[in-house]
Subunit: 423 residues, 2 copies
C-alpha cells in the first residue's frame, strides 16, 4: 500500500514515524495530513534513502538541482555537487541532466544519494528525440516509466498545461521559461494535439502508485519575469494542477504543486494563497521566487528573499537557485552558495512561523557570540568552513575580537560592564 | 537657512529641485515633506556632493560602511572600498574608522566622495580616550563639533539611550551591540550620570543647524539577536528618539531614525509601524535587519531578506551588511557584495511599492533575456562584471545559449514557436 492508502486505512507507516521523529508533528498528525493531501513523504519503494516529509507544520525543506547539460557533461562533477549539496543540508536533490549518458548519471545519483532524488523524465525523452515532429506521446510516457523504475523518489510532470491555454501566453514578455513546458507547447502546436502528460495522466498515476513515487506537478507556465507574474496562463495551469492533485489523492498517489518563478514581493502572499485554495492545501514547491529580474550573479540572493517570504506565507519546499542561474551551469561553490541561501530562507521562515525549536539555534549562536566563543559560532553557522575561512583571511583570527572593531568591541565592553559595574 | 527653514518658509531650495529631478516626487512635494520631517536631504553646506533625498515616496537608498579599525589601518584600502561602493550604486557612505589617523581618513573620504558621507563622531572620542574614567562629556560633544566642521553630511548620535533604561537590558542575550551605545552605557555606569549626548542635545542641534547636517538618531539599544528584538529597551529608546526628532525639526535640523539590527521576519512590519508612529513619520534607516543570527559569511544575504521586507513596509534607507559582518573588516569584494545585496533588496521593495518606473529595468532585462541578448543582460544587471565573468567562466560564452540548458533552451524554443507556429 502507498502512504496515502495506509493513511486512509488508519495505519501509521514506518516512514511516517521516521518523519515524525525529525519534525514538530506527531506521527498521527502526519498520517492524517498525508491522507488529506496536505503532506507528502518523498521516498520511492525502490530507493534506499531517508524519507523526507514536505507539508503542513513541517520544517521548510530545500532542494538542490544538479545535472549535466549538452555543453557540460562531466558526471563526476555532478556527483561532487550532489555530495556538497547534501553536506550543507539539502533535503532533496533533483538530477536535471540533459547531457551525456543521462540514465547512467541518474542511476549514480540514486545510488549515492541518501536524500530523496527527483527528476524531470521528459527531459530525457526530448534529448533522445529533439525533433518535435518525430517525438510521440508514448515517448513522453515511456520516459516517466523509465525514471520511476530506476528508483527516483519524485518526478516533475507538466500535466497541467493544456492546449487551450496557449493563447493566454500571448501578452507575455518571457513566454514559457520552463524547459519541459516550452517543448510541450511546441509539440502541441506542431501536432495540434493535447498535452500528452495531461491525456496520459491516469497512466502516470498508475506508474507512480506502483512504487509510491510522489508527483511534483510542474508549473510549465510559471512566470519567467516580474511582468508575467500571476497572469492568466499561470492561474489557468494552477487551477488545473489542483484538479490533478485531487485525482492523484483519489488514486493513492502523493502530489505536490510546483510554483514560480519570478514574482514581485507584493504578489508572493497572493500566490501562496491561490495555490493553497485551488490545490486543496497540497504542499507547494517554489523555485525562488526571484523578486527582481536584474540579479544575474546574485539570483541565489534574490531567490532567498522571495523564498523566505513564500515559506513564511505557507510554501513548504524551496528549490534553490545558484549565482549561475540565467548564466550557465553552476560549479560546486555555486551549489554550496545556493544551498546555504535557501537554508537561510527556510530557517528564517521556520523562526517566523514559530516552529517549535527553530529559534534555538539562533539563541545558541547569540550566546556564543556574546561570549566571543569563535568555535561555538563556527559550529552553529550554516557554513562553518566559510565563516572560519573569512575570519582566517583577515590574518587576525588569533585575537579574541575581530578586525571589524578591533579592541573597540561591543561584546568586550558588555563583558566589562557585567564584571565591573554589576557585581 | 536650513532645508527645513526654507521649507517652512515656502521656499523650494536648489537641493530640493536636484532631488526631485531624480525621484518620482515633485519639488513641491519634497519641500512639504522636509518641513513635516518625512523626508531629509543629506548634504552638508560644507561638502560639495550631490544631495540625496531619503524619505516619503522616494527611491529606497543604500548606505555602505567603510573605515579602518585598530587591527586594519590602511587608508588606501578604505578609499578603494569607497570607490567600489559608489561605482556599484551606494547612495551614501559612512566612514566608521577607528584605527590610524581617523581625521585624515575622514577628510580624504569627504574630499573624494561625490555621495553624502556620514560618520559616528563619538567613535573618535572613545578611540582617543578609551579610559572610561577619564573621558568627559565635553569630549563627546567636541567630537560631534569636529566632524561637522570637517564637512560630514550626516552623523550618528546615540542621543536616545538614557540611564534609566539600562535595567531594561538585563534580560538580553546580546546586551548592547552598538559600539557607541555600549561605551555610553559603560560611561553612564562608571560616572553615575545621564548620557551626554542626551543632556547635550541642544548643543548638538545648534552645531548641526549651522551647516545643515542631518542627524541620524542612533539606535544604541538595537537588538543584536532575534531573541532581543522589539524588547523594552529597544522600544524605550525608540520613543525617546521620536521626541528628539521632533525637537530637531523645531530647531530647523533634519533627522532620521536608525533601526535594527536582528529581527525575525514576522516582527519586521511591527518594527516599521512602531517607528513611523513614535517618530512622526521620520525617515527610517535600518541595518539589515538580519532574519537569522546564524548566517556569518552570508549576513549580506540574510540582511537583504530583512531589508527588502523592511523597505517594502516603509523603511527608507538600508545600511548594507557585508559577508564579513560578525567576522572581520570587509575587503573590496565584500563591499561590492554588500552593496549589490542591498541594491537588490531596495529595488525589489521599490517594485513592490509600485514606485513609478521601478519595474522598467526588470522588463528591459526580461526582453533582453527573451532575445538571448547577452550584452543587454549584462548592461541591466546590478553587477555587470560579475554576470559577464561568471558566464565567461563556463568557457562557452561564445555560444548563443548558456551551459545550464545548452541547446535545450526555453528562450530558443519560444523563438521557434513564434517563428514557425504563429505566422
Amino acid at each position: 500500500m502507498t502512504q496515502i492508502e495506509q493513511s486512509l486505512n488508519g495505519q501509521i507507516s514506518g516512514e511516517m514515524r521516521a518523519v515524525a521523529a525529525l519534525e514538530p508533528r506527531t506521527s498521527e498528525e502526519i498520517r492524517a495530513d498525508i491522507g488529506n493531501g496536505h503532506t507528502v513523504i518523498l521516498k520511492s519503494l525502490l530507493h534506499d534513502c531517508a524519507p523526507v516529509g514536505v507539508g503542513k507544520g513541517l520544517k521548510i525543506k530545500v532542494n538542490a538541482n544538479i545535472g549535466t547539460s549538452g555543453y557540460n557533461e562531466d558526471p563526476e562533477m555532478e556527483l561532487k555537487k550532489l555530495r556538497a549539496a547534501i553536506y550543507y543540508g539539502a533535503d532533496a536533490v533533483m538530477d536535471l541532466s540533459t547531457g551525456g549518458d543521462i540514465r547512467a548519471m541518474r542511476k549514480a545519483v540514486i545510488e549515492e544519494s541518501r536524500v530523496p532524488v527527483g527528476t524531470v523524465p521528459i527531459y530525457e525523452a526530448i534529448v533522445r528525440q529533439p525533433d518535435v515532429a518525430k517525438i510521440t506521446e508514448d515517448d513522453f510516457l515511456s520516459s516517466v516509466a523509465a525514471h520511476i523504475e530506476d528508483g527516483v523518489d519524485f518526478i516533475t510532470v507538466h500535466c497541467g498545461i493544456r492546449r487551450e491555454y496557449i493563447p493566454l501566453l500571448n501578452g507575455r514578455i518571457m513566454g514559457v521559461v520552463s524547459r519541459g513546458g516550452s517543448f510541450l507547447v511546441k509539440w502541441m502546436m506542431r501536432h495540434g494535439k493535447e498535452n500528452p502528460l495531461y491525456t496520459g495522466y491516469d497512466e502516470i498515476l498508475a506508474m507512480a502508485r506502483k512504487h509510491d513515487v510522489t508527483l511534483s506537478l510542474g508549473d510549465g507556465f510559471r512566470p519567467g519575469c516580474l511582468a508575467d507574474a500571476t497572469d492568466a496562463a499561470q492561474i489557468a495551469e494552477l487551477k488545473t494542477l489542483g484538479g490533478l492533485a485531487e485525482r492523484a489523492r483519489a488514486a493513492g498517489v502523493q502530489a505536490m504543486i510546483e510554483g514560480p518563478g519570478h514574482v514581485p514581493l507584493d504578489m508572493i502572499k497572493e500566490n501562496i494563497e491561490l495555490q493553497k485554495r485551488y490545490c486543496g492545501g497540497a504542499p507547494f514547491y517554489v523555485l525562488g521566487p526571484l523578486v527582481t529580474d536584474c540579479s544575474p550573479g546574485y539570483d541565489h540572493l534574490s531567490g532567498a528573499i522571495g523564498g523566505a517570504l513564500a515559506a513564511w506565507y505557507g510554501a513548504d519546499f524551496l528549490c534553490y537557485l545558484t549565482p549561475m542561474e540565467h548564466l550557465g551551469l553552476p560549479d560546486v561553490t555555486h551549489v554550496v552558495d545556493g544551498v546555504i541561501a535557501s537554508k537561510i530562507a527556510a530557517h528564517a521562515a521556520d523562526v517566523a512561523r514559530g516552529l517549535p525549536g527553530a529559534r534555538g539555534r539562533d539563541d545558541a549562536m547569540s550566546r556564543a557570540r556574546s561570549n566571543l566563543d569563535w568555535e561555538g559560532m563556527y559550529g552553529l553557522a550554516f557554513n562553518p568552513e566559510r565563516a572560519r575561512g573569512l575570519r582566517r583571511g583577515t590574518g587576525r583570527d588569533d585575537a579574541e575580537v575581530c578586525t571589524m572593531c578591533g579592541d573597540f568591541c561591543s561584546a568586550k565592553i558588555n563583558r566589562e560592564c557585567r564584571e565591573r559595574y554589576r557585581p
